[in-house]
């Protein structure tokens, strides 16, 4: 009988010890806590003999329930975006981001922005840096005319013939070589 009593005491102290550490600070634990000498606030007892026994377990704590509180604005700002926000027009963009222009829609070809409002121009590096391919995605309209214009522009700026590959169904053009900045500047000049 005595051993059973001792083991029960040990179990209770183990519980107290766990709560005293309060590992993740969660108040869920509080519902299982005890009132009286044993408090929610962490308290480490130096040994088993000094630690008090469980008196009463408090099941429920008192709460004020406030409907539509003024603090709800603080909650709302934490919630994720429904969709990616549309950029409001500003006077200048210090980061170097350039907004698309209206008149680009009237061109026979069009490169639409990504949903992150960036130009879909990417560099693919393969064969350990031996092959670099610039890819222009999300092309609409006359892709062949865009290809001709782009090729002429690249020949002018790079000073040599540049190979391209047109994928009509995939709506992209691949350019052999790293021409990301050249093409990005060209796209900005067209207003895409």
């Amino acid at each position: 009988m005595a051993t059973v009593w001792r083991s029960q005491c040990a179990f209770a102290r183990l519980l107290i010890g766990k709560i005293a550490q309060n590992p993740n600070n969660s108040p869920d634990l509080c519902t299982k806590l005890f009132q009286g000498p044993i408090s929610v606030t962490s308290r480490n007892y130096s040994n088993y003999a000094n630690s008090p026994f469980i008196e009463r377990i408090k099941e429920q704590y008192e709460y004020d329930i406030i409907k539509n509180p003024p603090e709800w604005a603080y909650v709302e700002r934490l919630l994720p975006f429904d969709t990616i926000p549309v950029v409001t027009p500003k006077e200048n963009y210090p980061s170097g981001w350039i907004p698309p222009r209206e008149e680009a829609v009237h061109l026979p070809y069009f490169v639409s922005r990504t949903k992150n409002h960036e130009l879909p121009i990417y560099l693919n590096i393969t064969y350990r840096g031996m092959r670099k391919i610039t890819k222009i995605k999300k092309i609409e309209g006359d892709i062949w005319l865009l290809n001709d214009t782009l090729k002429a522009h690249l020949k002018e700026t790079a000073g040599k013939y540049v190979e391209t590959r047109v994928h009509e169904l995939g709506k992209f053009i691949e350019v052999k070589g790293d021409y990301v900045n050249v093409i990005r500047n060209w796209a900005h000049s067209k207003g895409f």
């Binding site: 993740n24 600070n25 969660s26 108040p27 869920d28 509080c30 009132q35 408090s39 929610v40 606030t41 704590y61 008192e62 709460y63 004020d64 329930i65 406030i66 409907k67 539509n68 509180p69 603090e71 709800w72 604005a73 603080y74 909650v75 700002r77 934490l78 919630l79 994720p80 975006f81 990616i84 926000p85 549309v86 950029v87 409001t88 500003k90 963009y93 210090p94 980061s95 170097g96 981001w97 026979p108 992150n116 409002h117 092309i139 609409e140 309209g141 006359d142 892709i143 062949w144 005319l145 009509e168 169904l169 709506k171």
Partner: protein, 294 residues
């Protein structure tokens, strides 16, 4: 224009073709390659594995083993740069240029104080608290072009970054969050859905107490008087005129700070947020109040 447009063209071709059904669709030719073992002259014999040895048996020597030589990686004395790396805190960088582009594309609202939660919310900053990442290290790339007046709270910042933010009339604070609160900051909606009360923020560990209490680094535990002195000092060092925060139209926003025990702006520890009924549960119990008041 009409049919020169690639989408219009393919849709108009489709008009004159039979109806798309289960019987006439297929994947692109060559999209699936079934691996086959060739026989005889079609890649048979050794199947590319070579004659005998490691090629056939896949018994590659362990990395760095030099068939009995004293290996290269053991030839020089030990240089323990990475000792205890798995215990170290990591602060993934965010440059001022990136921050400025987030602001330019309206991913971050600068009319509100900016903290870790709002930067993660933008969706363009990868943050993994489970990988011992402890918050943002704001780096000085793009310090020259940075032109936003913000009240920002980061976890680590250099002197140049502090100068770049304060030159534009902004306010910067460095603050520590324990891993548990970082998880809450990463996904507040997920936490609110659990229905648990907002916990307290823990105090920083001993090795960074100095960083977060010093006014030079704009620590959140530093004396505000000293911080304003340091702001002036830094402006004299870098040679810019310190804009007066007191006369600013955004004065209230710029003065907003979190309590050292607070995780979210405006929400105190101990509160339970109910997203469904749009209500907040605030504890009134004396014991809980004492616990959450730190």
């Amino acid at each position: 224009m009409g049919s020169r447009q690639i989408t219009e063209k393919s849709l108009s071709i489709l008009r004159s073709l039979p109806r798309i059904s289960v019987g006439n669709i297929r994947d692109n030719p060559g999209s699936k390659v079934t691996q086959k073992r060739g026989r005889g002259q079609h890649g048979g014999d050794k199947h590319g594995a070579g004659n005998k040895g490691s090629g056939q048996r896949q018994n590659y020597m362990r990395l760095g083993y030099e068939t009995g030589n004293n290996p290269f990686y053991l030839r020089m004395p030990q240089e323990p740069y990475y000792r205890g790396h798995h215990h170290r805190r990591e602060y993934p960088p965010l440059s001022l240029l990136q921050l400025q582009s987030l602001i330019d594309t309206d991913r971050i609202d600068v009319s509100l104080p900016v903290d870790l939660a709002s930067i993660i919310k933008s969706g363009l900053y990868n943050f993994y608290p489970e990988q011992k990442q402890f918050g943002i290290n704001l780096t000085d790339e793009g310090a020259d072009i940075f032109a936003a007046k913000i009240n920002i709270e980061v976890q680590w910042a250099s002197e140049q970054v502090i100068a770049a933010v304060e030159r534009n009339g902004g306010v910067i604070t460095t603050a520590y969050y324990d891993p548990h609160s970082l998880f809450l900051l990463k996904n507040p909606k997920h936490f609110f859905k659990t229905g648990a009360a907002i916990p307290r923020r823990m105090i920083p560990p001993p090795d960074v107490i100095e960083y977060y209490t010093s006014a030079e680094t704009r620590g959140y535990l530093a004396d505000p008087e000293k911080i304003s002195q340091e702001r002036l000092k830094l402006s004299q060092k870098y040679g810019y005129e310190l804009p007066q925060v007191e006369n600013d139209s955004f004065y209230e926003m710029l003065c907003e700070r979190k309590d050292p025990r607070q995780i979210f702006y405006g929400l105190e520890p101990g509160w339970v947020v109910n997203l469904k009924d749009k209500c907040i549960l605030k504890p009134t119990d004396k014991e809980l109040l004492r616990f959450y008041s730190s």
